[in-house]
Symmetry: C2
Subunit: 378 residues, 2 copies
């Protein structure tokens, strides 16, 4: 395994600032990097069965080189793990290891493990040290950065959690080689999102270089670093999502509705795929509202299709509920004040903005026009 | 019910500063006080069955006067309610009421309800607004101020939780009239604690005026306000307990060991009673270590006895485990570095300090000398 010099992105949050290291071979350096920042710490590692099979031994060896003998807590893989029952298990595992407030909890896994583990680290002894070792592309470019942690409730996704910034993020780009391609693509949608929000040059670069990002050359680390920079910028401006941070939800309003409409059945649609379709729809909708040029929407669709991501509702296998039902999933998710919805819309690639007054009626007509049923019929 | 002008104590935490209002009749003013600070808010009230029976209607009427129609979530009374299962119930109740991040969760009850509710408010949507309406003396002088929230784990008390400062504390001194006398006394122990830590004039004042505090005259509100000031001072200096805040644990090392030794059986010992005995022991131990005069220890014991609180181990009904076992409860509770323990000791009344190097062997001899078994034998 090659250990190149990693790229460092700093998340500027004052006395809670931290580094994101991005590069291959970082699992082997975990002990060194952690104990340099938290000398004398003890650790628990939380992971899932898939990731444990592929990467736990490497991480353990890396920790041991830094003098850290971790306790390991292994969860089942999958979104259902983000539950109160599993939270209680992780909390109990950390307490059973007799870790103190100054010790560290390490999340080794995708966004599910990162969100669950960060929440546990945030509540054991009212807050321990937390380190993210994201192993999915989605986690490396999105969920491991920014301090949102949490679990799901039967009443909705991510409704329960805390803000807890990690002390360090180690994004080992080599571990992505074992990630199923469909998961890689799903993470890629979130990566492309930063280009669409406010980095048009990133999007243009991805249009040219995406194959190298998938193949794993230095372009992969470069793209991930750029995504982390983009997210770190937003987070530093608006840590607790009282304003700008909402831009990160580009594509997520439509995306969440589609996830809900498919009962969060990963066989039909995983989160990043929902976001891909959602981003294409957000661009198409913005063009329909005469906010952006239809050429930009077409460019987004073309790129998503090129990388093998779904980009329209008809790409989802199986039947979808009708437009009215989709709208009700959207309004369930958010405050509706007098028939107006808050949406992330765009004036073109790299020019997303928060629109607070989108008429629900416009959304409904748009959903009708773009619904697979009406398309087939029309 | 008389509505006097309440006393206001400000907790100086910068942009999270908040007021503690202390006075009688405050439940009836809850709606006005809350909606002045959080205009247009919706609310959930969390309470326990005992407190609901005595005070919920008054609070509801008070909220409605301020235009707030709350959802009510009622828990069983008692320490066992501070569990993951009840946390999940409260979280679900808040979500079922479809409250948003800017809405408010109100805790109406003693420390159990305050700790559980604050934790739930801190994690629903990663943090909602929180208001404390403490109804036990302990909650009014201690647990409602300072932002520590949490639940118990089978592995220990208060091991899981968050820091969440309330937006407002309404300490209605009138509601204490329905509090069982034993609970009142237990809360009084924590009140006297502030005098013993660093307010010798408060302790001297209590020696003279304690009967009026029990009877419920203006002295009651005065004493509670002084206690809140004392706690607010410490919290403003050290919100996350990295230093000085540990002084608030005066009496708690011995106290917790006694609570554990009696299996948290409230019929034998409630928390404040453990603290009373613990404070007397901390003074006696300090005098044995030649740090303080035995006269001060005697003064503490005399006052605790006068108000009807237990002050020595032999005041606990039933058998206690032996000194070795008590020491093991103490060392279980804290980091022991090379046989040395951290303890809150004192140089005299109002002169408590953090001692980091107390030899476990000294603690053991002291526990042996003061153990009921050896006392009866000797
Ligand atoms: N906290 C945030 O800011 C934030 C942001 C976006 C998404 N999320 C959350 O992230 C979650 C989705 O994350 P995800 O897509 O990483 O899901 P995930 O954690 O379920 O990982 C996807 C799958 O890939 C497997 N896997 C992960 N890394 C692997 C590797 N290197 N090799 C082989 N298999 C591997 C996992 O076991 C799982 O089966 C959602 O719960 C979402 O809500 C959180
Ligand atoms: N968060 C903190 O900083 C902090 C500090 C100290 C203690 N605590 C916690 O506080 C808890 C103890 O608090 P507590 O002593 O208030 O216990 P509690 O909440 O159990 O109340 C004691 C009893 O009095 C009843 N009660 C409360 N108010 C009443 C009223 N006005 N009229 C009639 N009955 C009433 C309750 O139903 C209960 O049965 C413990 O769990 C302890 O860990 C927390
Ligand atoms: Zn996403
Ligand atoms: Zn106490």
């Amino acid at each position: 395994m090659s250990v190149d010099q990693p790229v460092t992105v700093e998340v500027g949050l004052g006395d809670r600032a931290y580094d994101i290291l991005i590069g291959s071979g970082l699992l082997s350096r975990a002990g060194e990097e952690i104990s340099r920042r938290l000398p004398g710490t003890r650790a628990a590692v939380v992971t899932d069965e898939n990731v444990a099979a592929a990467h736990l031994d490497t991480l353990k060896a890396g920790l041991e080189k830094g003098g850290i003998q971790p306790t390991v807590i292994t969860m089942p893989p999958g979104e259902k793990t983000k539950s109160f029952a599993h939270l209680e298990e992780v909390v109990d595992g950390i307490l059973a290891a007799r870790l103190e407030r100054g010790d560290v909890v390490v999340a080794l896994g995708g966004g599910v493990i990162g969100d669950l583990t960060g929440f546990a680290a945030g509540i054991v002894r009212r807050g321990m040290n937390f380190v993210q070792v994201p192993t999915s592309l989605l986690a490396q470019v999105d969920s491991s950065v920014g301090g949102k942690t949490g679990i799901n409730s039967p009443r909705g996704k991510n409704l329960v959690g805390v803000f807890l910034q990690p002390r360090l993020v180690l994004a080992d780009t080599g571990v992505l080689d074992t990630l199923p391609i469909r998961e890689f693509r799903a993470g890629y949608a979130e990566l492309a999102k930063y280009g669409l929000i406010d980095r048009p040059e990133l999007f243009a670069w991805l249009e040219v270089n995406w194959q190298k990002v998938f193949a794993g050359g230095p372009e992969r680390a470069q793209a991930i670093a750029e995504a982390c920079r983009a997210k770190a910028d937003v987070v530093a401006r608006d840590e607790f999502e009282t304003g700008d941070r909402a831009l990160l939800n580009l594509g997520h309003t439509f995306g969440h509705a589609l996830e809900a409409a498919t009962q969060y059945d990963g066989a039909r649609l995983v989160h990043g795929e929902g976001v891909a379709i959602g981003m294409a729809l957000a661009h198409r909708f913005s063009s329909r509202l005469n906010l952006a040029s239809p050429d930009d929407a077409a460019r987004v669709e073309t790129h998503l299709r090129a990388v093998g991501l779904p980009w329209r509702m008809s790409d989802i296998p199986g039947e979808l509920p009708d437009a009215e039902a989709l709208l009700s999933f959207i309004t369930q998710d958010k405050k509706v004040s007098r028939g107006a919805l808050t949406f992330i819309l765009t004036r073109g690639i790299g020019q997303a903005f928060i629109a607070k007054d989108v008429p629900a009626s416009e959304v409904l007509s748009f959903l009708r026009e773009n619904h697979p049923a009406s398309r087939k019929a029309g």
